[in-house]
Amino acid sequence: MMEDKIDDLFDYVQVRCLWQFFSRTWDRQENIDGVLGKAYELFTGKEPSLKTPADKLYYADAKSMVSDCLASFPWIKQASEAEIRQVLDGLKVRLVENVITKSTNRELTHHLY
């Protein structure tokens, strides 16, 4: 059941979100951490911090994702905070595996842009 929910979000992110495919591993990791962090706050009704430019960027990306996912996946509205945390943690693992650790993109770790 949990895997199905992670699948829902993973499939959505794969198709919709360019932030997962930035140029280098560190950019991808930053974006995954940043956007999913803000998504958690939005899913759980917390006020996201918008102090830094990076905060605002991740908020902008997360807001679209959260809005789309709430519209597409009714189970999210019924999920508890702990369940949302669990799903997003699972999603993060999947994304890191897919676009970083298992990616065969040969440019991902070049130290220069």
């Binding site: 794969q14 360019l18 430019p53 605002k56 902008a60 807001k63 897919n98 676009v99 065969t104």
Partner: protein, 475 residues
């Protein structure tokens, strides 16, 4: 599905690593075409050269800059007038072409004096123009002309001019992609933060990777104006040299073409802490999402929603008229790289079109990660496709329309398959809401155009084959 070895590639089996047919539940961690790799000997590549990537794609778009091409005449001529990027100052960039016209004697004795003379001549002929980009080409790079030293000398002689040099001869990389890279990195290292822009809004951004193809930039600019967002620099559609020197002052970098221009966005993030937001500017759904993200960044969501609502009211009925008639049509996209992943879902979601084959000339593996994530199963994903492969793929997927450049387009037309210019557009702009209706209209006109059937009729035949009855059925 594994990677695909086409019949035409039996003598160059290395091509198998570059062609992928997506199977059920597969992703790019299992199969990713090798990309941005040297073209395999024996294949007739459709790629351009590295110099072309710097000049034709990025630098040559600027509306106030002399493009001095240090090399034989052909390098200048062949990168002039082959792109459709107008400007709001009378298309200065498209009217003129500049070259040092290198001859054998200059190659033997060195071309620096020739370059210096040409730079002065160009500035003398156009006294109102004070900015110049100088490009090396294959011969001038090989003989080691020091173009930076010449540029410094000219700037010393003419204190009111500024010159940027791009040392990216055609042979420098595997495709035009190398030219994008060299220009991006050269610009951030040498020119960004050399001029302070005038700030006129509390919301500022750079719009990166849009080249005003048939007015894309100018159309999107109407959105930013309505939202009250100042675009400090357009990199480089309808852009100016000096605006690009002030990129360091923007609060946000919005990136459309991540392939040609992602480098400078990455460096602006690294060196100046400006966040990078990637969006898709083609398609209703995508454009709305991009506007929403930009407005969320600046905290002006209500303005964004009002703009989107206005545009939907105006254009969505027109889009839907075309969607009804294009539903289920099959499209192939054979362009540079990013338009594969920008377009595959937008034409599917907004027009009901199925993309059945995509080929990239200069995309990197990152581009294939994106397009395989977004694209359908049963679709071919090809890196650096050649003409024979195109023939074979056409036979396999039988598209109703092919989006590609004029060069491959000639092949497509001869096969009597509808073709739309996927590089310079037929009748753009194609970005934004109005633009995507233009794309839909051109697709519709191509698919239902009766002339391509007429072109296939052999008039020497006493009883020519009758035209298909389906012509204009949708109208």
């Amino acid at each position: 599905m594994p990677m695909v070895l086409l019949k035409c590639d039996s003598d160059i089996p290395e091509r198998q690593k570059h062609i992928y047919l997506k199977g059920p539940n597969e992703d790019s961690t299992e199969f990713l075409p090798v990309a941005n790799a040297p073209t395999i000997p024996g294949t007739l590549s459709e790629r351009g050269c590295a110099f072309c990537g710097a000049k034709l794609v990025i630098g040559g778009v600027l509306k106030d800059t002399i493009q001095m091409i240090h090399g034989p005449l052909g390098c200048a001529y062949d990168t002039w007038h082959t792109k459709r990027y107008p400007t709001d100052n009378g298309h200065f960039n498209m009217k003129y072409v500049w070259s040092t016209d290198m001859k054998e004697s200059h190659v033997v004795f060195g071309g620096e004096k020739r370059l210096e003379q040409s730079m002065h001549e160009a500035f003398d002929e156009m006294p109102e123009i004070k900015r110049m980009i100088v490009y090396t080409t294959c011969p001038t790079a090989l003989i080691g002309d020091d173009v930076k030293a010449v540029a410094r000398k000219v700037m010393k002689d003419r204190p009111d001019v500024d010159v940027f040099t791009v040392e990216c001869p055609g042979f420098a990389g595997v495709s035009q992609s190398k030219g994008h890279h060299v220009l991006n990195i050269g610009w951030i290292n040498e020119k960004v933060a050399t001029l302070e822009p005038e700030i006129t809004s509390e919301y500022t951004m750079n719009f990166i990777g849009d080249f005003n193809i048939q007015g894309d930039t100018q159309l999107l600019q109407t959105y930013w104006d309505r939202l009250g967002i100042q675009v400090i620099a357009h990199f480089t559609g309808n852009g100016t040299y000096d605006a690009l020197r002030g990129m360091h002052r923007a609060q946000l970098n919005v990136v459309n073409c991540a392939r040609s221009s992602g480098y400078i966005a990455n460096e602006l993030k690294k060196q100046y802490g400006i966040p990078r937001l990637d969006i898709d500017s083609w398609g209703f759904n995508y454009m709305a999402e991009g506007i929403r993200k930009i407005c969320a960044f600046f905290g002006i969501e209500e303005k964004g929603e009002a703009l989107i609502a206005d545009e939907y009211t105006k254009w969505k009925p027109k889009l839907d008229w075309y969607k009804e008639r294009l539903q289920g049509k099959k499209m192939a996209i054979w362009t540079g790289g990013p338009r594969l992943w920008h377009w595959t879902k937008s034409v599917e979601d907004d027009l009901g079109i199925q993309v059945v084959a995509m080929s990239s000339k200069f995309g990197h593996e990152e581009d294939f990660e994106k397009v395989i994530a977004r694209g359908q199963e049963g679709t071919y994903y090809i890196d650096d496709g050649n003409e024979l492969e195109f023939f074979e793929i056409l036979d396999l997927v039988k598209p109703d329309v092919v989006f590609t450049g004029p060069r491959v387009g000639e092949l497509i037309k001869k096969l009597h398959i509808p073709y739309v210019n996927g590089h310079g557009y037929h009748n753009g702009p194609y970005m934004g809401f109005e633009g995507f209706v233009n794309l839909a209209r051109d697709t519709y006109n191509a698919v239902y155009n009766p002339l391509r059937h007429l072109a296939g009729v052999d008039i020497r035949d006493a009883n020519p084959v009758a035209l298909p009855v389906k012509i204009r059925e949708a109208a």
